[in-house]
Symmetry: C2
Subunit: 322 residues, 2 copies
């Protein structure tokens, strides 16, 4: 079962999220509306809204607040995508031209700012400050993760612990928050909220490890976005970190040399080295371990179709090719 | 009286803002703390916190919420400065090297994101959603103003109405919000809150017109930041818009030709043309007109030292050289 099929089960709820997304971003300025129409075209998988909605359903009844929260987290995610495209100089994102490539870095910076601003604005329409506080804490962490990542750019001695610090903050924290808020606004107990939060954290970690593997060894034609961007930007990910720790002295020296040299063919050479090593398998196993933790966090939840779908999503995350 | 002297009268309150600013941004990550320490060094005039505090004092008693709000608006402002530096490729800001020049555009984008995220996070610590809602609405407007501005980049037919739409959203809206929130959290009546909001809006408009004049004809050594950046980035400001509407057909054609040609000496040539025209005086009069509106909005306020300081700030705005 793919994420698209999971989404099919909450089609109506996701349609409400898409509508609120569009309504919240609409302005009286034609030039701004045109930019937003373009960015909405490649909205993508709706992973984060789906987590909010299924976590809510798994713990109780969905409310209007869930639609608001699901829209807020999608806006936060879109903002990070738009700013990531500035950072990564990626020319393709989901088979559509990126905003920065079409309109320049300046429009991309401002559009990302516009999305993050609207996410907070929309969140502040809820009755209590609870969600605003959690969303603010989470976006703080996302920024920290990204800043830590660029701090370690081209650091060939990056260790696994720091890699996990980076992905935990930049990716997993938002997935954790989606599940936490979904559960909280369905009236779940503190214990249940913590279980859902742990589910999201583990799922988000597995998701990012898999994303990093795909960036290294995926096929651009299947995935629909520029690959090899992590290497281009000097970001070391789990398979490379593992290789540089465990391969023979000779192989390690060879990989370091390739990494230090900025040539265009190096991505193919690195791919070839990794594919005959056990470093991809190691990273896959790490992702699977986090999938296991995610699924374990769900075990005491009462059975429901939403619980089963969350379980399926976790399973899917470490196997996906896109 | 300069802004520095006004600030002297609320030194203790501003010190509390600086302290909260530092506390809110502190993290467990050394690399992030180092970036923040650098950005805090050129914090500048504290115009926006001063507006929050004086608007509050002019309407009643200051509370802890005023310190929070004053810190929030300074963070929002700092975020726009950091992202503006990316946009403008400015190499100097307040006589210090800009973040993007020192660390690259990526760090500047992320640091701006970090500041905006923390501003919302801090704002959500207040008891009610009121301030979060207003801050979110304002940052939406700031982004709209900036997006409208880059949409009209290199548009030599930009009219005055659109220029005022741009500066009203990108600059004046935040000054209006500072005064609105300062008054609201001091328990002011709705009428009084509206008067203070209008004061801030008018003052912010005058401030931006003057800023644009300085960018055209100021001296970099006095002002301490790169000048001529508006022209470099194809941003038409009030003196230029006026000149292109009112000068003789021959002079207009000459200015258009200079604007269309990207040479480095054009800023001097444009300056020379403007200085012998009445377009600088026209823009100065526009700024003074907004100063007049700002001061008029204060007239029914009961006399207080805070009211007199707000009045002085308005007077100062259109005369400052920095």
């Amino acid at each position: 079962m793919t994420l698209a099929l999971v989404n099919e089960t909450i089609k109506k709820e996701l349609a409400a999220v898409e509508q609120l997304f569009t309504e919240e971003l609409a302005t009286d300025l034609t030039c701004v509306n045109n930019l937003i129409r373009h960015v909405s075209r490649f909205r993508g998988k709706m992973l984060r809204p789906t987590l909010v909605l299924l976590a809510g359903k798994a713990c109780g009844e969905l409310t209007d607040a869930h639609t608001v929260l699901a829209t807020v987290v999608e806006m936060v995610h879109m903002a990070t995508l738009v700013h990531d495209d500035v950072l990564d100089e990626a020319e393709l994102r989901r088979k559509g031209a990126t905003i920065n490539h079409l309109r320049g870095n300046e429009a991309a910076v401002l559009l990302g700012d516009y999305l993050i601003s609207h996410s907070f604005h929309l969140c502040s329409s809820l009755d209590s400050q609870f969600a605003s506080r959690i969303i603010g804490r989470t976006t703080n962490q996302v920024c920290e993760g990204e800043l830590l990542q660029i701090h370690h750019r081209n650091n060939l001695d990056l260790d696994e612990e720091t890699y996990f610090q980076i992905i935990s903050r930049k990716t997993a924290s938002l997935c954790a928050t989606c599940c936490l808020l979904g559960a909280k606004f369905a009236g779940a107990s503190e214990v249940r909220i913590s279980q859902l939060e742990l589910f999201g954290l583990s799922l988000g970690t597995a998701f990012q490890i898999q994303d990093d593997i795909i960036d290294l060894i995926g096929e651009a034609s299947t995935v629909g976005k520029t690959l090899g961007t992590d290497l281009e930007k000097g970001k070391l990910t789990l398979p490379i970190i593992h290789y540089l720790r465990t391969a023979s002295a000779q192989d390690r020296a060879r990989l370091r040399k390739i990494l230090e040299n900025g040539s265009n063919e190096r991505i193919e050479r690195i791919r070839d080295m990794l594919l005959v090593s056990d470093s991809i398998a190691y990273a896959r196993n790490c992702a699977k371990d986090h999938v296991h933790r995610a699924r374990a966090a769900l075990t005491t939840l009462p059975d429901s179709s939403a619980k089963r779908l969350l379980d399926t999503m976790a399973e899917f995350v470490a196997d996906r090719a896109v």
